[in-house]
Amino acid sequence: MGEFAAVARGVTKRFGRTLALDDVGIEVRAGESHALVGRNGAGKSTLVSILTGMRAPDAGEVAFFGEPAPPVADSAAWRRHVACVYQKATVVPELSVAENLFINRQDLGGGLIRWKKLRRRACELLETYDVAVHPDELVSALTVEQRQLVEIARALSIGSRFVILDEPTAQLDGPAIERLFDRMRSLQDKGVTFLFISHHLQEVYEVCQTVTVYRDARHVVTAPVSQMSKPDLIEAMTGEVGGLTVPSGDDRPSSAEEVLTVSSLSGDHFSDISLTATRGEVIGLAGSASSGKHEFAETVYGLRKPSAGSISVDGAPVRGGDVPAALEAGIGCVPRDRHHQGLVLDLSIAENATMSTAGTFVWPSAQRAAGSTAIASYDVKAAGPDQPVSDLSGGNQQKVVMARALAGDPSVLVLINPTAGVDVKSKESLLGVVDAQARRGKAAVVVSDELDDLRVCDRVLVLFHGRVVREFGRGWHDQELIAAIEGMSSE
């Protein structure tokens, strides 16, 4: 059994009446990169918490390199076997990089902490793994990418040769993802084993050799990646035949009637951007994390104040930096991060979905009815309109955000990362909504790092350092778009 870096067998885990894992197993061969995929709520993160000793399973066993896992209380022993970059960051933001690297072992075995030595050791470590950050930097000042690298370096420095990455790419832009993959490959060459979780199936093909699929808390299949086509994979995840059908929308009727006009808009991290969208048009905005594309979209919706330029909807100017004004003018928005700006988790689906619609009075029955409509129209899996959104899985939560953005029947949609962290099937239905809205004569601006999201667009603008550097019509190729995003465009 020594050939397996990690083995789990017969693992069952229950949260109250939710069965999160139902007698599942996984075998991760030493030295490989193993993908774990499944829909939102399939139980992936729960398995991770069991494989890292953060939770004890209700039943089942775990072994590393043939050795049974240590008792849950002995976290030090777990850390030598397995390291993890969780969905949520496990760093301490207000402490320095050096200290985070050696957290809970700052004394380096010497009793007293010697800060100079600690810093030196941190430098060495960062150099070894080629992480370009200063050891004195506070972790709160790092980028997501840098933070993840610090976490990986820390994990490897503890001596574990098995690393779990739970949706590491969800928050990274294209080039950063590429850099992460390069690093994974080179570490794999040095004998490190990876368990990799992602909703981006193409990534599985890029870095993994084996894939395991979970569905509804159960193990469905484990196979070499080379033997699973994308449609097979999706079928395994969803239990339905037929691959992903992201609507491309190339048969959408077009119109010349301008809805959204942005002229010479400047603001945080972008300047002098002009753009017009006509009825039924979907415009994509692509670019790296520092391209200013998010800031531009947020400015259009009034979440940020513009420093110059103007926005108008149906010819009427919209006051900048004023969300209510934007809503009034007919702009709806799915904000960048649903946890941060999208939802009030403790409130019900109905309340979240109707939060942006005007009116002095709120009649609970009317609100509930609106909630039910939203659940039906956006295919939200929920017990009812009164259910708090905190009970929903990620994908379903995202649909509620979409419902909120569309509640006032806006004529312009600003969608930022609309499918982030959402499984393939939910992604399909969300993009279907975008297409359907465009067909109803709405204009939409889709800001995304995901190529799938951009495929529904009629044209894609690429931003680089706050300016539009290229525009693509339909039918672009992945490579040319990525090159443009990375600023390597020839034009």
Binding site: Y301, L327, Q341, D346, E351, A358, S377, K381, D391, G432
Partner: protein, 337 residues
């Protein structure tokens, strides 16, 4: 739209159960209150007499207004410790501006009828200042209002030189001492304030927005709620309610005591939290808060009627707070933060 084809993520049952519980959570204290009424009646024959119950209500009226204000402030995700000092300062300052120096006033000599409006205005000013420091300057709400608590209490001392003001204009005493339709005016005022508050927080968009802001202010902002404006308004309303409490207390005691309101803030938090208001914001109802106030009032009254010496009342009161927290903790099954 795409066909429904997603599998339910989790068994829907626990979700359903959770929101059912949540809906009735604001009624959680009702059985406790009934129990206290029964216990009170068994222990003391006069407990259920109208006079006794009215006494409980009257004694809790000032606290209840403070709790009303604080509850809204907590729901919106802030905190105002200075409410208890507003209870004393606003009446003291308003009265001092009216009465002559010989009675401890400031010798400004404003007309007596100005006392009430002036007092309310002072409340607006205090709430507004707190809002400014928290929202515009960006200071920690807990700390600002802690500083304000000290400063306002100090201001009252400075204005009155530590004196209680006895020569209070009649008009100012009226509300705290009048009886309307057989019930003290103070009780009517509380009832009306709570009724309005409960209605607003349930049926008005502006009221609902408090929950959105307290639950996730960024999301509220992104949903088009004018967060700062709402928070500011709530802080001002909280201060004004504290002023009203101060006016009632002045009327009830016939003077503005130098220490008026001192120590109340602890009870305010206790009542609000026991009543289901979360210190984290975004959760709880005013009805719940009110039942927290009533519960504490009944406990106190039972102890007092039982002839429990005043020295033991405070300890029992503290024990009841902790007990209530434990009960709430297990009733809701959620860890508190």
């Amino acid at each position: 739209m795409t066909k429904a084809m997603t599998e339910p993520v989790a068994a829907p049952a626990p979700g359903k159960q959770k929101f059912r519980l949540a809906r009735y959570q604001d009624l959680a204290l009702v059985p406790v209150i009934v129990l206290l009424l029964v216990v009170g009646a068994v222990l003391s024959p006069i407990f259920l007499t109208p006079a006794n119950l009215v006494a409980v209500l009257t004694q809790q009226s000032e606290l209840s207004l403070l709790v009303l204000g604080q509850a809204m402030i907590l729901v919106v995700g802030k905190m105002d410790l200075s409410l208890e000092s507003t209870v004393g300062l606003a009446p003291a300052l308003a009265v001092a501006l009216i009465i002559p120096a010989s009675s401890g006033g400031l010798d400004v000599g404003l007309a007596a009828w100005l006392a009430l409006p002036l007092c309310l205005l002072i409340g607006v000013a205090i709430g507004g200042l707190n809002g400014f420091l928290i929202l515009k300057v960006g200071l920690s709400g807990f700390m600002v209002t802690l500083g304000m608590l000290t400063m306002l209490r100090g201001l009252q001392l400075a204005i009155t030189e530590g004196k209680s003001l006895i020569d209070v204009p009649e008009s100012f005493l009226y509300l705290g001492s009048a009886t309307w339709l057989g019930l003290p005016a103070a009780v009517w005022i509380c009832v009306v304030c709570y009724a309005v508050g409960i209605f607003v927080l349930k049926y008005l968009r502006a009221g609902r927005s408090l929950y959105a802001i307290g639950g996730n202010s960024e999301a509220a902002r992104a949903a088009g709620i004018r967060v700062d404006r709402v928070v500011w308004t709530v802080l001002v309303i909280g201060s004004v309610l504290a002023v009203v409490a101060g006016i009632l207390m002045t009327g009830r005691l016939g003077s503005v005591a130098a220490t008026q309101g001192e120590g109340m803030i602890f009870q305010v938090f206790a009542a609000a939290v026991i009543g289901g208001i979360s210190l984290q914001g975004g959760k709880g109802t005013l009805f719940g808060a009110l039942s927290g106030v009533l519960m504490l009032g009944l406990v106190e009254q039972i102890l007092r009627l039982q002839g429990v010496s005043g020295f033991y009342i405070k300890a029992s009161y503290g024990a009841v707070i902790i007990l209530a927290l434990i009960v709430t903790r297990f009733a809701t099954g959620q860890k508190q933060e």
